[in-house]
């Protein structure tokens, strides 16, 4: 078994880009990642790639070159990027290939996602009656959590303000202007207790990562950032997930808790060893709940953490250093790989104005999505 390194990263800026398809944004990212790694397409032995709503990844061989490489399409909802990365990681770890790529991209229409009940195994009435909205789930999971653990609306606003501050310093972010706490709190409600500025929006973008085994990484002069864990998990009994017409009385944990524990076991380190984290922040409450679900603090401690700025750049555990989904938007297929991109940038010390001080050696990323999937990646330098 080989150690697996990330030897090249590329990103197409997130946001809205009328002149480019989602796949073209993926190609852009792929070319940037190859340039970063110092390889050409002919050296790429395999790829895993996918999008949620922007078509098949493998058709980009038409533009990138008909080298005959193995290219596997991935469609795994919000875990598409994480699943593509798991595929690429496993291929290299097993010794099957020495150099490959994970690619994720997407392009969504404006406004909330509009899933069809039948695609999720749900009856039509669930959509007709206005219950099939991801935003409602986020708000209701959060409302319950705030009630149980004493989280305040001010804490929600602090997360969003931090995201916009960080996004202003990230070249690939979409929302690049700071917004103050008062404006965030007083903005129109979308789904109470979440205001407009506390939610991320569906967006567009592309990310590609070039992975290599140790020998190849050394040949390329890039044996720095190692993948020490990649996990993808589904929900356990009693979890609270998107699109749930009913919940069990006996409450359980979550897909995030399962994926996180597995990742820490695989990496052989714990939450206290992590220097920087990118956590799924579909809305600001999600970041707060995911701080605890991933083991970084106890339920309810987030209020103090946020008041003291512990998750700001320069704090004890900087979270979402590029502004996360709140500042970057959420192109589903690209979002999980954006987090890994950002962590590679941080571990290389290339974060510029948003660089985490103290030469971070460990980085953690986490995605969550419907219908209860989560993917976690741990990087070490």
């Amino acid at each position: 078994m080989s150690a697996v390194y990330i030897v090249g990263v590329g990103i197409h800026p997130f946001g809205r880009h009328a002149s480019r398809t989602g796949r073209q944004q993926g190609e852009f990212a792929a070319r940037a990642a190859m340039k970063d790694a110092g390889v050409d397409w002919g050296a790429v032995q395999f790829a895993y790639g996918g999008s949620d709503s922007a078509g098949n990844a493998d058709t980009m061989v038409e533009q990138l070159g008909l080298t005959g490489l193995q290219f596997i399409n991935v469609a795994n909802g919000c875990a598409t990027g994480g699943s593509a990365l798991f595929g690429a990681y496993s291929c290299i770890k097993s010794g099957e290939f020495g150099l490959g790529m994970a690619i994720g991209f997407d392009k969504h229409p404006r406004g909330a996602f509009d899933p069809r009940p039948a695609d999720w195994g749900l009856p039509d009435w669930y959509g007709e009656t206005g219950l099939m909205l991801t935003t409602q789930f986020f708000a209701m999971k959060l409302r319950r959590y705030m009630h149980q653990f004493g989280i305040t609306p001010l804490a929600l606003a602090r997360v969003a303000a931090k995201s916009f501050d960080n996004g202003a310093k990230a070249g690939h972010a979409w929302r690049r202007s700071p917004i103050d706490l008062e404006s965030i709190l007083n903005a129109p409600m979308i789904n109470d207790p979440l205001t407009k500025y506390m939610f991320c929006s569906p967006a567009e973008g592309g990310v590609a990562l070039v992975l290599a085994d140790e020998t190849t990484a050394r040949q390329l002069g890039r044996p720095q950032v190692r993948l020490s864990a990649v996990t993808m998990r589904t929900r356990p009994p009693g979890s609270f997930e998107v699109f749930a017409p009913s919940l069990d009385l006996e409450r359980g944990s979550s897909a995030t808790v399962v994926a996180s524990k597995a990742a820490f076991e695989m990496a052989g380190i714990g939450p206290r060893d992590i220097a920087v984290a990118q956590l799924q922040d579909t809305e600001s409450g999600a970041e707060i709940m995911h701080m605890a679900e991933n083991g970084f603090c106890a339920d309810g401690e987030q209020e103090v953490w946020l008041a003291e700025g512990r998750t700001c750049i320069g704090g004890q555990l900087p979270v979402n250093t590029d502004g996360g989904c709140i500042a970057c938007g959420e192109p589903i297929g690209a979002s999980g790989l954006r987090q890994v991109y950002e962590n590679v940038v941080q571990l290389r010390g290339a974060g510029g104005a948003r660089q985490v001080p103290g030469e971070p050696k460990t980085a953690y990323s986490h995605v969550y999505g419907a219908p209860g999937v989560s993917a976690v990646v741990v990087l070490e330098r």
Binding site: D114, G130, P245, L247
Partner: protein, 136 residues
């Protein structure tokens, strides 16, 4: 005025209809709605009352399809209601001011209008509303 339920399989018949859930024959796990065409679950009428477990207000119009309700859109409350001994059910919340919603408040099942079809038929669905004589 003609009325029809948005999906008649959701309810028991009679003057005081109940929601129909499903109980897994082996594990006893209770779910809602009753899974269609799945012999592992038997029909289970659900309690008509419980306590509010969580809630939000839907402030923007959901995309249509799948949404098919009153036009123009009016914000509505949704929540989860814990039905003792059974499960926690997701539901619209009716006949309550948004700022009166509290986790733990007593709620009971109601049948409420969802939309009126062009032919004049009123389509109804289930909701929970504050219990009227909430002495408990």
């Amino acid at each position: 005025m003609d009325q029809r339920l948005v999906d008649s399989s959701l309810f028991t018949g009679g003057a005081a209809p109940q929601l129909v859930g499903g109980r897994h024959r082996r594990t006893g796990r209770v779910v809602f709605p009753l899974p269609a065409g799945n012999d592992e679950f038997e029909a289970l009428p659900l309690p008509r009352a419980g306590r509010l477990w969580s809630y939000t207000v839907q402030r923007f119009a959901p995309k249509s399809p799948p949404y098919a309700a009153a036009d123009p859109f009016e914000p509505f409350a949704v929540g989860y209601v814990e039905l003792p001994g059974a499960l926690i059910v997701e539901t619209r919340l009716a006949n309550v001011a948004f700022d009166e919603l509290r986790i733990g408040m007593l709620m009971e099942l109601a049948i409420v209008p969802l939309r009126v079809e062009p032919a004049g038929t009123t389509v109804t669905t289930f909701a929970f509303q504050p219990t009227r004589n909430a002495a408990a």
